[in-house]
């Protein structure tokens, strides 16, 4: 699961990144750099976020009303834009997570049958 965009990655990967962002923000507001760091570190660096695609995703989510943002001061004492989850974003996360679970379960079932 690499977020470096292959030519036809399409919506699945984009949607996945969206979900990861929403999930990260459950812990509290964060700015873009932190979000990237958190995704990378919690996935034990298995997922490397192409930092360039993070921002289009953030802005898309904000345009959809799932995130809200405001400028603040970061832990490094720098100006940074902080994103937080809106109630609609929380709802979206729930449904996206359950979608994801259903899908991975289905994939697991298929893969399981073949390997076992």
């Amino acid at each position: 699961m690499v977020l470096k965009r292959p030519p036809d990655a399409g919506d699945v990967l984009q949607g996945t990144l969206d979900m990861l962002i929403l999930r990260t923000l459950v812990m509290g507001p964060a700015h873009g750099h932190t979000i990237a760091q958190v995704i990378e570190s919690t996935s034990e660096n298995a997922l490397e976020v192409e930092q360039g695609s993070l921002y289009p995703a953030l802005h898309r989510l904000e345009d959809r009303g799932w995130l809200a943002s405001e400028w603040g001061v970061s832990e490094n004492n720098r100006k940074a834009k902080f994103y937080r989850l809106t109630p609609r974003g929380r709802k979206e996360l729930a449904s996206a997570t359950s979608r994801w679970r259903r899908m991975t379960r289905a994939i697991d079932l298929i893969l399981g049958q073949e390997t076992e």
Partner: protein, 887 residues
Amino acid sequence: MKLHGSTDRTRKDEDLAEEIESHLAHEQDAQTARGASADEARRRARLRFGNPRTVRERVWRNRSVAWLDDAARDLRFALRSLARTPGFTAITLFVIAVGIGVNTAVFSVIDALLLKPLTYPDPQALVQIVLKTNQGPFAAASVPMFALWQQQSGIFEQVAAYDWGGSGANLTGGDQPEQVQAIHVSKDYFPLFGAPVLEGRTFTAAEDSPNGGRVTVLSYGLWKQRYGGDPKIVGTNIQIDGQPYQVVGVIGRGFVTDAPVDLWLPDQFDLNSHEMVVNFTAVARLKPGVSLAQANAQMKLVADQFRRAYGEHSLPPGGGFGIVSLQQFMVGDMRFPLLVLLGAVGFVLLIACANVANLLLARASARRRELATRAAIGAGRGQIIRQLLTESLALAVAGGFLGLVIGFLGLRLLLRINPGNIPRITETGAGVTLDPNILLFTLGVSVLTGILFGLIPAIAASRPNLAAALNEGSSRSGISFRQGRIRSILVVSEVALALVLVIGAALLIRTFRKLNDVDPGFTTHNVLTMTMSISGSRFQTTAPVAQVVREGQERLRALPGVLDAAASNCLPLYSNFGMGFDIVGRPKGNGPFTGGAGFYSITSGYFSSFGIPLLRGRVFTEHDDASSPWVAVINQAMARQYWPKGDPLNDRILIGAGAGPAFAEPPRQIIGIVGDTRNGSVEQEPGPMMYIPIAQMPDGETALNSTVAPLYWIVRTRENPYTARAPIEAALRQASSGLAVAHIRTMDEVEASNIGRQRFNMVLLTIFGLSGLLMAAIGVYGVMTYSVQQRTQEMGIRMALGAQAWNLRSLVIGQGMLLALLGVVVGLGGAFWLTRFLASFLFGVKAWDPMAFVATPLLLCLVALLAVWVPARRATKVDPMTALRLE
């Protein structure tokens, strides 16, 4: 022009840029924390992030509706680039606007007249019943004919009779009597035409029979204006010609009649009558499933039946009954003129399209370098084509809008010059509106032209042959051969089309001048005419009419500024009655009469008021009244035709013998011969005419006359007749104990309206000719200007090598005039072939009139010369140094 919300997006973009900076700073911090040097940290941060600009572009694109954005940008760019060449833009807009505007206006008129069916329900089934004669079909009927036609229930669902124009009626009972237009109709008239009944009802069968009582149906207009739209008017009495008439109904607004009508009265025919006078007209509605041919075949049998019942002479020899589709009958002789106009419209449209194409091609070839440059720096082929198309579409749409404005104004103008005798255009122009379909059509044509001729150069320009296009020489080596040839062909065809149009216009102008020069046989200047309705029961015998006429004449002659005054039952160039006559003592031929002639009943002073010369004998005086011997005056044409040898003054004539009891009268002595006048129309040669004194009309004829025609007053004045208008009206009101006069106009106006249709045709074709000429000139000018522009370098070299200014000038002029001359030659050929279709519009001019065929090409060459003169001058102004140095 900015798309809505784009400022918001700009702000958000700046926000994002700042955010990215912040991100990079944090990443740099992180890298520094891992021990990288400051420079290294910055490098790594940038590396990990990628290109910030790409990110911003992605966010920007995500926020936009891509094509709309592109379109907005293309449009902005197109407008900018059009604004950079204001001359080109203005000319192209003008051409498109004129093309569309002229077409829309004329099309709208044609559409309303020719293409739209009658405004009555199921108009295909409506037919005009006609009398067929050797002179052609006449829409006329007598009561016995009508009675017989009504019985043909096998072919007709309904048959209705109505008056042609009517005598008018006087609405009395108010402060001042008012003259209104009243016609008599039979009871089936309203249901046949599907007239909407607003209040009350229409005439019943009982009301439409002899002694059916005095009843009337009002028009919407009269009801609104005179009675304030009073809904309780039905059942009340109004005063018409001093008698009470009960209003039984009001007809709704949408009902359109041929000539405006204010109120209707029932015909009340006695269907058993043997009265042979034909003084009304009849229409019928065909039974469903009956064809025109079937009905015509049946009418032939009906004519035979009529002859058997009323005698061999009851119909003219070789004559019979027939039917014609009402629509065709109404627009009848307008069909061909309008189709010619349509052809002219097509020509103008073609010229406009050729012109637009030409201008666009020229523009594209002048921009080849610009386009190639844009392609070289990465504009896709699609982008360039889209860009050029946006420009042509912007032009087409803007031109179309201007065209709409021109069309609207043009239509107003057309209706203003409408002579008023084109059927179904009312004087206010109601019924003719700018037709949206036509507007769409012409706009579609111009947009199509824009796309088509925008596309060819666009595709050519977007060919990836950049090297050649960018290559220094090719930018100024002139128009590429193929494009140059296309454009030359376009210019030649423009000139040819314009020449045909202008020759057509010239022929019509000459026709109009000839018509204007025709001597109608009388003086039209300083003669005022007006009508007085004598329809009331007061005027059913001759004596009271003669009384009013005599008294009116006396009062008028007493007015200052009035030279003479007269009354008559017809007006020359306007109306004419015909009557049969016999010559006493001379055997009749085969027909019912010895001959037929125009028939005017007049007063003394008629000939002097009109300046009609007396050739022999004497004219009527006040003493030729009911108590003196019966007399007649004839015109020269009648004398020549019927007395080629003998002397008419020795003979007596019997007028209208056998036409019915109403016309019974003693023979009249011919007392004078007067000059010929044109009575039907200016174009018609004068025919035989006989005049009798009004005071010597048989009573029955006066009564009949009073229902079909008003009394005309003719006043000859010293100065402008309108200045005497008020006293004239007052005098006539006194003389008639309170009757009003209407339709006041001078004989000059009557004459002008008589040739109004020719004037209408002439003005239209002149407009077309001029716009065609102008556009052709623009075409020649455009091609030569661009050609000179493209050849600046060549001109420079020629000058540097010693060419004189006149060398260059004649080079350019020669080239431009060659195109024009080619066009003239082609156009002359086309005109020779096409003007034959104009032949029926021409009067006193041949279709290949040498004047038109010599003067017009000369005019066109002159205009072309002017059009190439400007670019030719420009060519001589080329400074060799700049021209050569130019890149």
